[in-house]
């Protein structure tokens, strides 16, 4: 498992992430529309939470890109047959998933830059906050890419690819408290939404940035466990060689 083909992972990420940005800029704009629209609505409805929403926007962006990619992964498998091509080669499931996950991170870079500019203008960053945000985003992209790959493995027909990916993206990124303080939610709702790693990630960021106090400590182990569980599930439950 740990004998990863790093060259392949980086090259796949570069080609599939960067080339898409370069040659298909509309996809990048599309990936930005949902988080930016929510940010704009929030700005008009309740500007009090704007700083919190910008910080949450980072999380919504990476999670949304990674979760939408369930459609991509299923499309590569079902329509282009690219996964089959690599199954019958020395590329392993771990190389393939890692390469795709990393490509989604690259794909998110234009949005991350945009949010960084907005965040800087609003003076929300310190060194500590930036460090926490990067760490949380890294874990979030692993967790959401894993969910994405897991779901993509369950999709049997191309006709369902984009619909399921869209639904998944909305449920997992719009409902969780990315653009509003988590303490507005009743406890039971917060627990239910914990199924999405975006929820625990948002709680950590809102605490670390000082938007909501006191610190909700359980969010840290929850995010770590969720990341591990989803990653293990994706790599064990998704069939590389079909049965």
């Amino acid at each position: 498992m740990f004998n990863l083909n790093i060259r392949f992972i980086l090259l796949l990420a570069w080609y599939y992430g960067f080339r898409t940005i370069k040659r298909g800029i509309s996809y990048v704009i599309y990936s930005l529309t949902s988080p930016l629209t929510l940010l704009l609505i929030l700005l008009m409805v309740n500007p009090t939470f704007i700083k919190l929403a910008v910080a949450g926007g980072f999380l919504a962006l990476v999670a949304s890109v990674a979760l939408s990619s369930a459609g991509d992964a299923a499309f590569l498998r079902l329509e282009l047959k690219i996964q089959d091509l690599y199954v019958a080669s020395t590329v392993t499931q771990y190389d393939y998933v890692a390469g795709l996950s990393l490509s989604y991170l690259i794909f998110s870079i234009p949005g991350i830059i945009l949010y960084s500019i907005i965040g800087s203008l609003l003076s929300i960053f310190t060194l500590f906050r930036a460090f926490i945000l990067i760490l949380v985003m890294m874990m979030l992209i692993i967790a959401t890419s894993s969910i994405s790959y897991l779901i993509s493995g369950l999709i049997k027909h191309v006709r369902n690819v984009w619909g399921i990916a869209g639904i998944l993206s909305i449920i997992m990124t719009v409902l969780p408290p990315t653009f509003y303080p988590y303490n507005l939610l009743p406890n039971y709702a917060l627990y239910v939404l914990m199924i999405s790693p975006v929820t625990s990630a948002s709680i950590i960021v809102q605490n670390a940035f000082g938007f909501v106090t006191p610190f909700y400590l359980p969010a840290i182990p929850v995010l770590i466990v969720e990341t591990l569980v989803y990653a293990v599930m994706a790599l064990t439950l998704t069939k590389w060689r079909e049965r």
């Binding site: 090259l11 898409t20 282009l80 199954v87 020395t90 590329v91």
Partner: protein
């Protein structure tokens, strides 16, 4: 060399795709032919370690497809049916990525990719995104991957389906560049006749004929096929046509009856097994 022993596959909904296939494949180019749903792709996918069999086993160069899949994968290439390149990537990028995946360094992969793209007359298109290329060119990208990987065994699953005649001939001509054994799955009889040293005919998950094209056609030696709108005495009826096999010297008699005289092909082998062809 590929050896299979009672290889069977039953899918989840109870559909039997393969029924106890036992065979040995050790020729330069073996064509597996059959109608859609005959089991040829299932056979190819199982033997190339993409799909698990329900029962039976397969050995490739002494390695078991279930126990030794990782070692087998170093020695094979399998181009899936209807595989299509990633639209934003160029042929150079697609082949290079595949070779890096197979363990070459980026520098080696780049050099080998350039060599093969040049050899396959794709130099002018090497930096064009795949979605700007013709269907034939897209398929050739995968053939380039197979050639560049220098594998011992190459599985090509219907590499020319949906291609126009010129593109198909382009792909056919490129197959000569492949090293090692080639297992070609196709439902085009003329493709098998043109390219294969050996032909295995599949129908309903079973092998119904196996041999060289000449051997398979030998039972029709000296005969031709006549297809007529109507005849009292015929061998097969397909749709609104009847088919009869006659000696070549007697064929002219049937032209006057509005019949068409055609040479014997692998289609006729299928017909001889009572398989209704799809015209």
């Amino acid at each position: 060399m590929i050896e299979t022993f009672s290889l069977s596959k039953v899918y989840d909904k109870g559909v039997t795709a393969l029924s106890g296939i036992t065979t040995t494949i050790n020729d330069r180019l073996t064509a597996i032919i059959g109608r859609n749903g005959a089991g040829k792709t299932t056979f190819s996918r199982i033997v190339s370690t993409q799909l698990e069999p329900t029962s039976g086993s397969a050995i490739i160069d002494g390695l078991d497809i279930l126990r030794d899949a990782r070692r087998i994968r170093k020695r094979i290439v399998s181009i899936p049916q209807e595989a299509s390149p990633i639209s934003v990537l160029t042929p150079l990028e697609q082949v290079k990525l595949y070779l890096v995946g197979r363990g070459l360094s980026i520098k080696e992969a780049h050099a080998e990719t350039i060599r093969v793209l040049d050899a396959m007359n794709m130099r002018d298109f090497k930096n064009s995104p795949a979605d700007t290329l013709s269907g034939g060119m897209k398929r050739k990208i995968f053939v380039c991957m197979a050639i560049a990987s220098n594998a011992d065994i190459v599985f090509l699953d219907e590499p020319t389906t949906g291609l126009d005649p010129v593109s198909r001939m382009e792909v056919w001509s490129s197959l000569g560049e492949l090293s090692g054994e080639v297992i070609l799955t196709t439902h085009y009889m003329e493709e098998a006749q043109e390219l294969a040293d050996r032909v295995i005919l599949f129908e309903k998950g079973r092998i119904i004929e196996d041999g060289t094209v000449e051997n398979l056609l030998s039972k029709f030696r000296g005969k031709v096929r006549v297809e007529c709108p109507q005849l009292d005495d015929y061998d097969y009826r397909i749709g609104n046509r009847v088919i009869k096999y006659v000696n070549r010297k007697d064929a002219n008699e049937y032209i006057g009856l509005g019949c068409k005289v055609k040479p014997i092909t692998l289609d006729d082998i299928f017909l001889s097994h009572g398989v209704q062809l799809e015209y």
